[in-house]
Amino acid sequence: MNSEEEKKIIEIALSKNGSLAQLALGAIALKPWRENRDPIQLSEALNKTTPTKNAPKK
């Protein structure tokens, strides 16, 4: 997939249903999504409860 196609996929996704639609596009949109990830992060508090590498080890 060339960069033009990538751009097109992202545009379609964004015009449809936002981030969720972009996610539903699957593998093909993954790379460009990761590179242009939505900067609005979830709450820091919530991210802390999601297992991360900083979570206490067993």
């Binding site: 539903a24 593998a27 979830l42």
Partner: protein
Amino acid sequence: MPQKSNPQVFVLGWDAADWKFINPLLDSGKMPALQRVIEAGVMGNIATIDPPLSPILWTSIATGKYGDEHGVLNFVEPAAETGKRIPISVLSRKVRAIWNILTHEGYKTHLIGWWPSYPAEPINGINVSNHFADVNSQNSFPDWELSEDHVHPKEQIDELKELRIHPIELTWNHIAPFVPTATREHVEDPKNHELFNAIIMMLARCSSFHNVATHILATQEWNFIGLYLDTIDKASHYFMKFHPPQQKHISDYDYELFKDVMTGFYVYHDMMLDRLLDLMDENAHLMILSDHGFYSDHRRLETLPKDSMAPAFEHSKFGMFCLKGPGVKQDERIYGASLIDITPTLLHLFGLPPAEDMPGNILSQSFTDFKEPERIKTWEIQDDQNWGELDESVKVDVWAAQEALQQLIALGYIESMEESDERLLDQIQTENAFHSAQIKISTGRPLEAIPILEEIHAVKPENTKVLSALLSTHLALANPVEARKYLKLMRQKFGTENTPQLDFLEGRVLIQEVQPAKALVLLKKAASHEVANSGFYQTLGRVFLVCKDWKEAQKVFTKAIKLDSENAAAYHGLCVAFMRQQKFDKAIEAGLNAVGIKHMFPTAHYHLGEALFNAELYEHAANAFEMALTQEPGFGLARKYLIQIYSEKMINEERKTLHQQILDKNMRPQMTIVSGLPRSGTSMMMQMLKAGGADLLMDDIRQNDDNNPKGYMEYEPVKKLLTDNSWLKDQNGKTIKIILQLLTALDMTCDYKIVMMDRDLEEILKSQSKMLGKQADTLNLKLMTTFEQQKEKINGWLVGKPNIQVLHVKYTDVIENPAHEANRINLFLSETLDEQKMIQAVDEQLYRNKKEEKTI
């Protein structure tokens, strides 16, 4: 099915997806991709299998075998080396799955996330296991490693693992559609963290598997892709309680915050489906199905009982099914599908034959042009070709598996236990045995279930689930003797607790003992309690039907329907209750509802036909009877009605002759047998029946004597029954005396109603001794034991015989209360006898006995 050179079949598993939830979304245009699939193909309900536990069911879907055959019987299994409890793996599966067969047949076969599919089997394509996207504390983003046993082929692992989405990668915009009213304050409130986390964990997980599917569609050759997503099930367990309408126990705060989550996940599944459709060739077959449904209405449970099966109580009996593709009918509904039919249907799509050891059928209604293929004996053949199976030496990664276990505990699927606990193995074995018994019961093999349940009961007598299963299985087998034994144990266990349920069960036992008056008292008492269970009222209604209390039956069936508007059996019962009250229009309406909900329901079609016949709507009645016969060709009563309709109402000689010929050919002779040990009162019973008008088969070879002054009422050929039973089939309608020890020699091509005389063994032996001129009070204990064993053996043999009904009658009850017993016997024999004359016959006997006593 016309064969393409390069078939493509995509199976999309949506665990717990339910039409009841989907339909309003389709109507409001929120699931357009699924709408396209439905319009292009067939859709219908798919019946689940009890117990509705996903690993068991998805393995049945993939193998065409029931759980007791395929071996996956639980969420967990003991690891071979450590004995630790680990999530269920492929290693528990004892038979081949569709992907093994397709690999063997050379098809490009890919599998994504199937439950269970770990360790990944080396099939002819990509296989990522159900633990591929697991997130745990040991293995976190961005260093999110993946061990090799989750992926096949191993060289693909680096590329595939990048397709996983870690929950931490998701942003606010991703979860906003699920919780549109949420604010930052909501998210930061610690009490909401568990549920917000659940959303992002589930969203990341299903998106990871979806990414693999889209990757395969875009880059790989394929003939078969199986994609399994557990998200709808998991989301339903977390969030269905918040779905509209608001339940009383849900706070306004929680309701407003989480009421859109379930709709959000269904809509997201539709968005993923849309993408899959884009990537799929139009000529590919697509099958979407779930393994069970999920209650989303008033049947949602407020709290779950503490039980390993508890989450399954939220599962409804029917899942969803749809199929589109070449050769599949368009925009049509199919009926009667079961999970066990999926593998035969998939094999058919590949032009491969189902096997004789697969109990399911090809879903033939789905196809425009269908010819039943010849089955092969089995796919479990041994050859040196590639079946895509694991090497026997493969072991599972127990350490990694422990993390996945935690999620099952969090969802309530399994109990949290000390993993070193010695009870673990024992518990898994007991649960597996119980699940195996449940499967056998729910698939029409209750006799096979009984020894398993008895074995568990012997070591765990305190296990009430097993007691209850034994009781209901014996009830299902019409074996009130054993059912009463377990009822007594349950009464001892519960004391005054659960009285309505136990009264209800005792009512059922009493009905089988043909004690309708006593049953009614208990059942009315049970019905006076408020029980929020549609099945309870439905069964209660059936009992009222047996008792011919039509109004009470109507009342409780209506209650059952109020609690569950999809209870087809309750509508069927209501149809009968209305019909017996001559309310034919209402009976027709209820009957139509019953068959509308559940099409494969021959007795409902029959009673609908009966109601239509009584309403003089003969053409419709004929259609209903014909449908009953299509579904159950041995339905003789439906055939009799059709013969009457075609000969008297709407003349059709050809159809009449056809039905008459089939009926004549298949009519089974039916006889009444009076049985018991010698001297248990069989001659007295024969006299009662004779007096009542029964047609006795007897000769005068054995003359009357002092012991039986009115004669033995026997038939000489009975004595040779063990060597010749060929004469029995010519005795239709006769009543014959056959001692208990000879019953196993009955001709099983005939139907029998057995009046079994029970008399205290001590009394029998005394009577026998007296008859043989021996000292009457000399008891032979050895003989007593032998008789007891024989009685037990024969009673066991009689259980579950579909052509035999048994009524136990106590000799002393006949003597003490002949009117009551005469009524029971007459009810058992379809009210064909004169009860007064039967009572009189006993009185005469009593008079004789008393006279004898005086002369002794």
